[in-house]
Protein backbone atom coordinates (compact mmCIF):
# COMPACT_ATOMS: atom_id res chain seq x y z
CA UNK A 1 0.00 0.00 0.00
CA UNK A 2 2.81 2.38 0.95
CA UNK A 3 4.69 1.42 -2.20
CA UNK A 4 1.72 2.41 -4.38
CA UNK A 5 1.36 5.71 -2.52
CA UNK A 6 5.00 6.56 -3.20
CA UNK A 7 4.67 5.45 -6.81
CA UNK A 8 1.57 7.63 -7.30
CA UNK A 9 3.30 10.53 -5.59
CA UNK A 10 6.39 10.14 -7.75
CA UNK A 11 4.32 10.09 -10.95
CA UNK A 12 2.26 13.08 -9.80
CA UNK A 13 5.30 15.17 -8.82
CA UNK A 14 7.43 14.30 -11.84
CA UNK A 15 4.58 14.78 -14.31
CA UNK A 16 3.57 18.17 -12.91
CA UNK A 17 7.23 19.20 -12.84
CA UNK A 18 7.72 18.18 -16.50
CA UNK A 19 4.46 19.83 -17.66
CA UNK A 20 5.16 23.10 -15.84
CA UNK A 21 8.79 23.17 -16.99
CA UNK A 22 7.74 22.68 -20.63
CA UNK A 23 5.04 25.33 -20.26
CA UNK A 24 7.55 27.78 -18.75
CA UNK A 25 10.06 27.11 -21.52
CA UNK A 26 7.42 27.54 -24.19
CA UNK A 27 5.82 30.72 -22.80
CA UNK A 28 8.74 32.52 -21.17
CA UNK A 29 11.58 31.56 -23.51
CA UNK A 30 11.95 35.26 -24.28
CA UNK A 31 13.05 35.86 -20.65
CA UNK A 32 15.90 33.35 -20.85
CA UNK A 33 19.27 34.83 -20.04
CA UNK A 34 21.23 31.69 -20.88
CA UNK A 35 19.81 28.27 -21.69
CA UNK A 36 20.08 27.56 -17.95
CA UNK A 37 18.77 30.80 -16.40
CA UNK A 38 15.44 32.52 -16.95
CA UNK A 39 13.99 35.69 -15.46
CA UNK A 40 10.67 33.88 -14.87
CA UNK A 41 10.89 30.31 -13.65
CA UNK A 42 7.46 29.15 -12.49
CA UNK A 43 8.48 25.53 -11.69
CA UNK A 44 10.48 26.96 -8.74
CA UNK A 45 7.16 27.55 -6.97
CA UNK A 46 6.12 23.98 -7.67
CA UNK A 47 9.39 22.66 -6.23
CA UNK A 48 8.95 24.79 -3.13
CA UNK A 49 5.34 23.69 -2.57
CA UNK A 50 6.14 20.01 -3.05
CA UNK A 51 9.04 20.33 -0.63
CA UNK A 52 6.81 22.15 1.86
CA UNK A 53 4.01 19.60 1.73
CA UNK A 54 5.87 16.33 1.15
CA UNK A 55 9.38 17.22 2.43
CA UNK A 56 11.80 14.33 1.73
CA UNK A 57 9.04 12.28 0.06
CA UNK A 58 9.15 14.74 -2.86
CA UNK A 59 12.80 13.92 -3.60
CA UNK A 60 12.26 10.99 -5.96
CA UNK A 61 9.51 12.65 -7.98
CA UNK A 62 11.51 15.84 -8.50
CA UNK A 63 14.63 13.84 -9.39
CA UNK A 64 12.85 11.66 -11.95
CA UNK A 65 11.13 14.74 -13.41
CA UNK A 66 14.45 16.60 -13.68
CA UNK A 67 16.14 13.60 -15.34
CA UNK A 68 13.35 13.27 -17.92
CA UNK A 69 13.45 17.04 -18.58
CA UNK A 70 17.24 16.83 -19.00
CA UNK A 71 16.91 14.02 -21.53
CA UNK A 72 13.91 15.33 -23.46
CA UNK A 73 14.04 19.15 -23.31
CA UNK A 74 17.46 19.94 -21.89
CA UNK A 75 20.62 20.92 -23.69
CA UNK A 76 21.50 18.23 -26.29
CA UNK A 77 25.29 18.60 -25.80
CA UNK A 78 25.14 17.99 -22.03
CA UNK A 79 26.99 14.90 -20.81
CA UNK A 80 25.57 12.23 -18.51
CA UNK A 81 27.45 13.26 -15.35
CA UNK A 82 26.30 16.89 -15.75
CA UNK A 83 22.76 15.68 -16.34
CA UNK A 84 22.77 13.60 -13.16
CA UNK A 85 24.37 16.33 -11.05
CA UNK A 86 22.06 19.10 -12.28
CA UNK A 87 19.06 16.77 -11.81
CA UNK A 88 20.20 16.10 -8.25
CA UNK A 89 20.15 19.83 -7.47
CA UNK A 90 16.47 20.08 -8.53
CA UNK A 91 15.14 18.09 -5.54
CA UNK A 92 18.02 18.85 -3.14
CA UNK A 93 17.81 22.66 -3.21
CA UNK A 94 14.11 22.97 -2.24
CA UNK A 95 14.27 20.18 0.35
CA UNK A 96 17.43 21.54 2.00
CA UNK A 97 15.96 25.05 2.03
CA UNK A 98 12.69 23.81 3.53
CA UNK A 99 14.49 21.93 6.32
CA UNK A 100 16.68 24.99 6.91
CA UNK A 101 13.77 27.41 7.00
CA UNK A 102 11.74 25.04 9.18
CA UNK A 103 14.63 25.05 11.63
CA UNK A 104 14.75 28.84 11.67
CA UNK A 105 11.09 29.80 11.24
CA UNK A 106 9.30 26.78 12.79
CA UNK A 107 6.41 25.68 10.57
CA UNK A 108 4.91 23.57 13.33
CA UNK A 109 3.19 20.19 13.13
CA UNK A 110 1.39 19.78 9.76
CA UNK A 111 2.44 23.36 8.85
CA UNK A 112 0.01 24.80 11.41
CA UNK A 113 2.27 27.79 12.12
CA UNK A 114 3.03 28.61 8.52
CA UNK A 115 2.35 32.17 7.35
CA UNK A 116 2.65 34.03 4.06
CA UNK A 117 5.80 35.82 5.27
CA UNK A 118 7.39 32.48 6.20
CA UNK A 119 6.64 31.13 2.73
CA UNK A 120 8.26 34.18 1.13
CA UNK A 121 11.35 33.85 3.36
CA UNK A 122 11.54 30.15 2.44
CA UNK A 123 11.32 31.01 -1.23
CA UNK A 124 14.18 33.52 -0.82
CA UNK A 125 16.30 30.86 0.93
CA UNK A 126 15.41 28.33 -1.75
CA UNK A 127 16.17 30.76 -4.61
CA UNK A 128 19.58 31.60 -3.06
CA UNK A 129 20.56 27.95 -2.54
CA UNK A 130 19.33 26.91 -5.97
CA UNK A 131 21.06 29.81 -7.75
CA UNK A 132 24.30 29.19 -5.90
CA UNK A 133 24.38 25.39 -6.37
CA UNK A 134 23.51 25.55 -10.06
CA UNK A 135 25.79 28.40 -11.08
CA UNK A 136 28.85 27.27 -9.15
CA UNK A 137 28.50 23.89 -10.82
CA UNK A 138 27.99 25.51 -14.25
CA UNK A 139 31.18 27.54 -13.86
CA UNK A 140 33.22 24.58 -12.57
CA UNK A 141 32.11 22.47 -15.53
CA UNK A 142 32.55 25.35 -17.99
CA UNK A 143 28.89 25.39 -18.96
CA UNK A 144 28.82 29.18 -18.47
CA UNK A 145 31.68 31.70 -18.52
CA UNK A 146 33.21 32.81 -15.24
CA UNK A 147 32.34 36.44 -16.07
CA UNK A 148 28.69 35.46 -16.29
CA UNK A 149 28.62 33.93 -12.77
CA UNK A 150 27.22 36.83 -10.74
CA UNK A 151 24.81 37.94 -13.42
CA UNK A 152 23.59 34.37 -13.82
CA UNK A 153 23.17 33.94 -10.05
CA UNK A 154 21.17 37.17 -9.97
CA UNK A 155 18.93 36.11 -12.89
CA UNK A 156 18.46 32.64 -11.37
CA UNK A 157 17.55 34.13 -7.99
CA UNK A 158 15.14 36.67 -9.45
CA UNK A 159 13.58 34.11 -11.80
CA UNK A 160 12.88 31.72 -8.94
CA UNK A 161 11.32 34.44 -6.75
CA UNK A 162 9.11 35.82 -9.55
CA UNK A 163 8.18 32.28 -10.63
CA UNK A 164 7.30 31.28 -7.08
CA UNK A 165 5.03 34.31 -6.64
CA UNK A 166 3.24 33.58 -9.93
CA UNK A 167 2.85 29.91 -8.99
CA UNK A 168 1.53 30.68 -5.49
CA UNK A 169 -1.04 33.08 -6.91
CA UNK A 170 -2.09 30.44 -9.44
CA UNK A 171 -2.54 27.64 -6.91
CA UNK A 172 -4.31 29.94 -4.49
CA UNK A 173 -6.91 30.73 -7.13
CA UNK A 174 -7.31 27.08 -8.09
CA UNK A 175 -7.20 25.63 -4.59
CA UNK A 176 -10.57 23.87 -4.79
CA UNK A 177 -9.79 21.72 -7.88
CA UNK A 178 -6.27 21.10 -6.53
CA UNK A 179 -7.65 19.85 -3.20
CA UNK A 180 -10.22 17.70 -5.01
CA UNK A 181 -7.53 16.19 -7.25
CA UNK A 182 -5.26 15.42 -4.28
CA UNK A 183 -8.14 13.85 -2.32
CA UNK A 184 -9.38 11.88 -5.34
CA UNK A 185 -6.02 10.26 -6.04
CA UNK A 186 -5.14 9.98 -2.36
CA UNK A 187 -1.91 11.91 -2.75
CA UNK A 188 -1.43 12.94 0.86
Amino acid sequence: MKFFFHLRLMIFISLSWIILFSFNKFIFEVFEFTSYASLIFIPAGLQLCFALVYKIKAFLGLLVGALIIGVLIGEPQINISDLIFISLIAPSAPIISIYLSDLMLKYGHLLKDITFVKIIISSIIFASISALFHNVYFVIQGLILQEQLFESIYIFFLGDIIGTLIFLTFIFNFQIPIKKFIAKYNLI
Binding site: L52, K118, I188
Partner: protein
Protein backbone atom coordinates in the same frame (compact mmCIF):
# COMPACT_ATOMS: atom_id res chain seq x y z
CA UNK B 1 -4.78 17.10 3.77
CA UNK B 2 -4.27 19.33 6.82
CA UNK B 3 -0.84 20.35 5.48
CA UNK B 4 -2.43 21.49 2.20
CA UNK B 5 -5.20 23.33 4.07
CA UNK B 6 -2.67 25.15 6.23
CA UNK B 7 -0.58 26.03 3.19
CA UNK B 8 -3.57 27.54 1.37
CA UNK B 9 -4.64 29.40 4.51
CA UNK B 10 -1.18 30.92 4.68
CA UNK B 11 -1.55 32.11 1.10
CA UNK B 12 -4.70 34.10 1.97
CA UNK B 13 -2.90 37.51 1.75
CA UNK B 14 -2.63 36.89 -2.01
CA UNK B 15 -6.33 37.62 -2.15
CA UNK B 16 -7.34 41.08 -1.01
CA UNK B 17 -10.94 39.97 -0.55
CA UNK B 18 -12.22 36.66 0.80
CA UNK B 19 -15.94 37.28 0.30
CA UNK B 20 -17.75 37.14 -3.05
CA UNK B 21 -19.58 40.11 -4.53
CA UNK B 22 -22.91 38.29 -4.01
CA UNK B 23 -22.08 37.75 -0.35
CA UNK B 24 -21.17 41.42 0.10
CA UNK B 25 -24.44 42.49 -1.55
CA UNK B 26 -26.52 40.23 0.70
CA UNK B 27 -24.65 41.28 3.85
CA UNK B 28 -24.98 44.95 2.89
CA UNK B 29 -28.75 44.52 2.55
CA UNK B 30 -29.04 42.70 5.88
CA UNK B 31 -26.82 45.14 7.77
CA UNK B 32 -28.77 48.12 6.42
CA UNK B 33 -31.96 46.54 7.76
CA UNK B 34 -30.28 45.87 11.10
CA UNK B 35 -29.15 49.51 11.29
CA UNK B 36 -32.72 50.69 10.66
CA UNK B 37 -33.85 48.22 13.34
CA UNK B 38 -36.18 46.55 10.85
CA UNK B 39 -37.05 42.87 10.84
CA UNK B 40 -35.24 40.96 8.13
CA UNK B 41 -37.57 38.37 6.66
CA UNK B 42 -36.03 35.64 4.55
CA UNK B 43 -38.49 36.02 1.67
CA UNK B 44 -37.76 39.77 1.46
CA UNK B 45 -34.14 38.98 0.60
CA UNK B 46 -35.16 36.74 -2.29
CA UNK B 47 -37.55 39.43 -3.49
CA UNK B 48 -34.95 42.20 -3.19
CA UNK B 49 -32.28 40.40 -5.24
CA UNK B 50 -34.26 39.91 -8.42
CA UNK B 51 -31.05 39.81 -10.50
CA UNK B 52 -29.68 36.90 -8.46
CA UNK B 53 -31.19 33.45 -8.67
CA UNK B 54 -32.88 32.22 -5.50
CA UNK B 55 -30.41 29.31 -5.32
CA UNK B 56 -27.48 31.77 -5.30
CA UNK B 57 -29.08 33.78 -2.50
CA UNK B 58 -29.85 30.56 -0.63
CA UNK B 59 -26.21 29.41 -0.99
CA UNK B 60 -24.92 32.76 0.29
CA UNK B 61 -27.29 32.68 3.27
CA UNK B 62 -26.43 29.07 4.10
CA UNK B 63 -22.74 29.97 4.00
CA UNK B 64 -23.29 32.94 6.28
CA UNK B 65 -25.34 30.78 8.64
CA UNK B 66 -22.66 28.07 8.64
CA UNK B 67 -20.05 30.66 9.60
CA UNK B 68 -22.39 31.92 12.33
CA UNK B 69 -22.55 35.38 10.80
CA UNK B 70 -26.35 35.18 10.76
CA UNK B 71 -28.99 32.94 12.29
CA UNK B 72 -32.23 32.00 10.60
CA UNK B 73 -35.08 31.78 13.12
CA UNK B 74 -38.79 31.10 12.86
CA UNK B 75 -40.98 34.14 13.39
CA UNK B 76 -42.72 33.85 16.78
CA UNK B 77 -45.98 35.36 15.49
CA UNK B 78 -46.16 33.70 12.09
CA UNK B 79 -44.48 30.32 11.69
CA UNK B 80 -44.56 30.60 7.89
CA UNK B 81 -42.04 33.43 8.04
CA UNK B 82 -38.37 33.16 8.91
CA UNK B 83 -36.37 35.98 10.38
CA UNK B 84 -32.69 36.67 10.03
CA UNK B 85 -30.82 37.79 13.11
CA UNK B 86 -27.16 38.55 13.72
CA UNK B 87 -25.03 35.55 14.65
CA UNK B 88 -22.19 35.53 17.12
CA UNK B 89 -19.59 36.21 14.38
CA UNK B 90 -21.56 39.03 12.74
CA UNK B 91 -19.56 41.96 14.19
CA UNK B 92 -16.24 40.25 13.49
CA UNK B 93 -17.32 39.47 9.91
CA UNK B 94 -18.32 43.09 9.24
CA UNK B 95 -15.04 44.33 10.74
CA UNK B 96 -13.02 41.88 8.57
CA UNK B 97 -14.96 42.88 5.49
CA UNK B 98 -14.39 46.56 6.14
CA UNK B 99 -10.67 46.10 6.73
CA UNK B 100 -10.30 44.04 3.55
CA UNK B 101 -12.16 46.65 1.51
CA UNK B 102 -10.06 49.57 2.75
Amino acid sequence: MKRIENLFNALAPLSSLNASINEIAVVAFISRKFLCKEDVILSSIYKHFSKLSSSTVFRVLKNLEKNQVIMIKKNTHDERKKNIVAGKNYDQYIADLQSSLT
